[in-house]
Amino acid sequence: MHSHWSLVAFTLLFQASVGSIWCLLAAHFMINTANTGLPVISHLTAALALSFAGMAAALAHLSNPRAGLFAIANLRHSWLSREIFFVHVHAGALALLIITTPIRPKEFDVFVLSGASLAGAILLYSMSRVYQLKTVPSWNHSGTLLSFVGSALVLGGIQFALVQTICAMTSSTGHDAVTADIYVQAAIIAAVSGSLIKMTLGLYQRFKKKRRPAKSSHWPVFHGSGVILCVIFLLLAKAALVELIALSLAAIILVGGEISHRIAFYHSYDRVGL
């Protein structure tokens, strides 16, 4: 199988973008106040930056990017075509939200954001279906979708928490610090939930390997360590500098875990036949 670094970057960056938008929408519904302590534009900009970086990685994967203009020509049959379509819908919705901020009556447009979240969810589903090929049994199961959703929660949650924490530390606008903490804690819970999904999948795959040899699997060490650090962060949530250090360490470990897991995923490619 050819080099997969660009695909590792593309999938992880878009999953982080989708996950952070889910966290933003969940934060809005969780505390229905007038955006207290929620730097919406910062979150949207971070998510859009991840999307653009993901698109650049996807273009790097193509040998002939100019023919990418035809990439949505097979929406009827190809999940890759659908994935490419929803990549653009998701990024387009984020760009629309940011561009129209000055002319919108409210900073938080729940309808467009819901659209972006939905496009993100469909994107993740399409992304998993791209890999669920009937000729590649090692990918052709529901664990692929679960793994991608887990990655979105881990990366999106940790990114949301980092952006929120950094904005809260640097902001002088007098945001409600208590409410901001609730957002961060909710995002951390999302990241921990995603980690638990990935750990469960990792353990299941190792158990399955004993019965039927799989080409590759991984120990969920990274995710376990990340979860421990996230819990420490939640316990120390009152000491600003310590919590930022704990959060940053958790982020490094979780992102490292995601990268190693995704590389293992691509290495597990094993096609039937010749």
Binding site: H61, N64, P65, F70, A73, S78, L133, G273, L274
Partner: protein, 212 residues
């Protein structure tokens, strides 16, 4: 041999195939394929072992046979289903070809095809594959691999006639389940052929069959 084509198909009589790989060489030569590209490949499938008998003697069940494979121009080609740009498409004669202007080089068809038919030309940055020597067919000639086969193990003909061949048994190892893509090819098995789900044998020349 020229006629208004419906669908062409290759035939392989594995009993006649000696594994000489002349078909591979002829294909590479005719299409001027770069290093690593093999539109036609010959898989050597072998297995078996020596087994001790109660009287102290040994007997063996060793087997080897060859399967020459190129694109099967399937009835239900997975490469055309997954291709996002429709660059991979069946033409009016049912021959699955790559529109080089539309191919963006994502290599997704390479992942999906269980026969390894679509192959990536790194220099051109596009996918390539067997085109059934359409230029030869239009001149009334046989495909290069068929012409070159010294034992006449390889053949070709119109699929609507060939598919009635009762000797055809394409479900043999190391080929994939035919239900995946419904290949348009006739394969007369070798007498030692193992069934498609066989796990006792291996491909002895994987370096000649793996993706380029």
């Amino acid at each position: 041999m020229t006629r208004e084509l419906n669908k062409w198909a290759f035939t392989l009589d594995a009993q006649q195939c000696t594994g000489c790989k002349t078909c591979m060489v002829a294909c590479k030569d005719k299409n001027n394929l770069a290093l690593g590209l093999r539109w036609r490949r010959v898989a050597e499938y072998c297995g078996g072992q020596w087994m001790p008998l109660p009287d102290g003697t040994f007997m063996q069940d060793v087997f080897t046979y060859y399967v020459s494979v190129s694109c099967n121009h399937c009835m239900d080609p997975i490469c055309t289903q997954v291709c996002p740009t429709t660059a991979m498409h069946p033409d009016e004669n049912g021959i699955v070809t790559v529109d080089q202007g539309k191919c963006m080089g994502c290599r997704y068809c390479e992942w999906a095809c269980p026969y390894g038919a679509p192959q990536f030309d790194a220099d051109a940055g596009r996918m390539t594959k067997c085109n059934f020597c359409e230029d030869y067919l239009s001149e009334g000639r046989s495909p290069a691999c068929v012409s070159a086969c010294p034992t006449r193990a390889l053949g070709f003909g119109p699929w609507d006639e060939l598919e009635k061949d009762a000797r055809s048994q394409p479900d043999i190892a190391p080929l994939p389940d035919i239900k995946i893509t419904t290949p348009c090819s006739v394969l007369v098995p070798h007498r030692m052929s193992r069934t498609q789900d066989d796990v006792t044998g291996t491909i002895a020349n994987p370096e000649e069959n793996k993706d380029a």
